[in-house]
Amino acid sequence: MTKAIFKKKDLLNIASLSKEEILLIINTATQMKEISERDIKKVPTLKGKTIILFFYEPSTRTKTSFDIAAKRLSADTISISSSTSSIVKGETLLDTVRNLEAMKPHTIIVRHSSAGVPDFLAKNLNCSVINAGDGMHAHPTQALLDIMTVKEKKKTIKGLNVVIIGDIAHSRVARSNIKGFSKMGAKVSVAGPPTMMPQGIEKMCHKVFYNSNDAVKNADVIIMLRVQRERQKNFLFPSEREYFEVFGLNKEKLKKAKKDVLIMHPGPINRGLEISNDIADGKNSIILEQVTNGVAIRMAILSLLAGKKI
């Protein structure tokens, strides 16, 4: 059992984690995974701890995952969304969180549509802050659970060809995964329409492709991103059928990847837009395993930030 102690107060992004810290989180999560397989899925690790889920953007998966993770560690959780908070009454973000902190929580988990909000909270609060996704900036727990899931299958991340396909510009998952997988030694490439490529992306990754066909060649891991249909209004792509044709993933294209390629998706999936039905449910897909590991990763982070080992 690892005895290394996690010294950080907050988890704000993947960039600020060392390789060792990433491995510590994943190893801890691997040990915690077993708890979710039990009939009585509860351990006393965080008994008496209060955790606030502060979600300013719609979220089912991530919020539920954090909530379940906290409850399996016996923490008390309170959930606040933008529509139930005082922000709608005109209170400033800072006042809202200061009031929440005055109630003495141990941890605040925040999701917000604006990049940098978790950094802002961490600077202003004494309790731990966990970033559950901020704007286009970062989604560190998603990257950690993705690395964990690939590591389970491939043993090591080093040397793997990872390709991320979709709306890179607007994706915090893409940013965190590029950083996370690169840090662990993978060769990360991206693919998508040029309208969805942010400036400077070529400096952040191995290669940039403008179609999925070339991108998936020799891939060990393919991470598909959700494409928001509304983006058509901003002229980012002309039609769903052309998007699927050029940038989507189907059986035919998949043949170019390695035989044991892993297909991932942070969800929610647009079947038929970025990924075909059969692939999403096929033998290479580990999409649901990502979700299972998500709970374990979040249990690991919650307990490590609380200074607990297992």
Binding site: L94, S114, M136, R175, G200, M204
Partner: protein, 426 residues
Amino acid sequence: MSIKIKNANIVDPENFEGVADILIEKGKVVQIANNIKKKAKTEIEAKGLVLTPGLIDVHTHLREPGEEYKETIESGVNAAARGGFTTICAMPNTKLVNDNAQITKYIIDKANSYKKTTVLPIGAITFGLNGEKLTEFGYLKKAGAVAFSDDGKPVADIELMRRALEYSKAFNLFIISHSEELKLTNKGVMNEGALATEMGLPGIPNLAESIAIKRDVELAKLTNSKLHIAHISTKDSVEIIRDAKKKGVNVTAETAPHYFTLTEEAVKGYNTNAKMSPPLRNKKDRDAIIKGLQDGTIDIIATDHAPHSSLEKNIDFESAANGIIGLETSFPISYLLVEKNFLSFSTLIKKMSKNPAKLLGINNDIKPNAKANLTIFDLKKPYKIDKHSFLSKSQNTPFNNFNVTGKPVLTIVNGKIAYIDPSFSL
């Protein structure tokens, strides 16, 4: 009231340079000579200090009327006087927009009542800054407006901008353009590029500024009107203006101290005091701005003083308001250009006093019978910028704790002391 300033090193570019005494009576300079014998009520020993024509800011945001919690006209003129400014031009984008003669008059009357820095209001180009209907330039001028601008926003409608440029000629006034193509800015909050990508912030391309400047310069050419371009921040903008001047277009341009001092790096850590419009750019742009100041493409250094409270600034970066204050930091930050040998002191005074005066049609030469609008600087003593010492109501500056040397120590407006540094001994 009379003031005698003794042994000042006078720097009035293209008019007078040298050590002399100055005698001021009834608001005016009466004599400039060595060893003036006549006594004055207030006598100031200025040996080792530098005296220049008072600084003029063509781009200040006072928040009155409407947002007095950020800045009042009173706190604004106090901050201006402390910053060495004897005249400032107030942009019209107050909460109650200066788009009519009544507000223009209100600003002037209120400013005059404090007997500090002179405030010259800039009228809106369009009612409510809505970009739909021209304001009454004639009535605004009669009330005291010195120029027209929708600053904070561009005039998006090219036909309306053309008419504004044409119509302004009837009153011998000029248009100040906030040049920005909003479709390119889109939801951007910082400079577009690798850093914005890294930080997950929507970016603003340089072209959002330069393409709009190109449009406005071409309109000035078409209409043969006088145009002033506000706050330029990019290399391409400098090149467009340089080219236009070469072709004889009647265009002037300003930049602000942050554009030749900082780069987008200042945004790191989601620093809302580095958020403004246009945004801080990269090193290549910053260097081009300095070059533009050196070769005369950029005529003026303006503050773009934009006060905001913690309500607008101590929040997340994307939601934070644009703008930083500058009245009390503009001179010391700009003086860094002299210390780094990018500009001579005399050129700096042209950018901060003589050229703004020229743009506004004011002669501010230091000479007998001229209004006594003067600033005295200590250019030797190093100090640290301290936002807590500001007379402005707001503290939104990226320059807190900067080590600087240039310090305005005495500001005389219309023959009266508007600011005197506490360390200054009479």
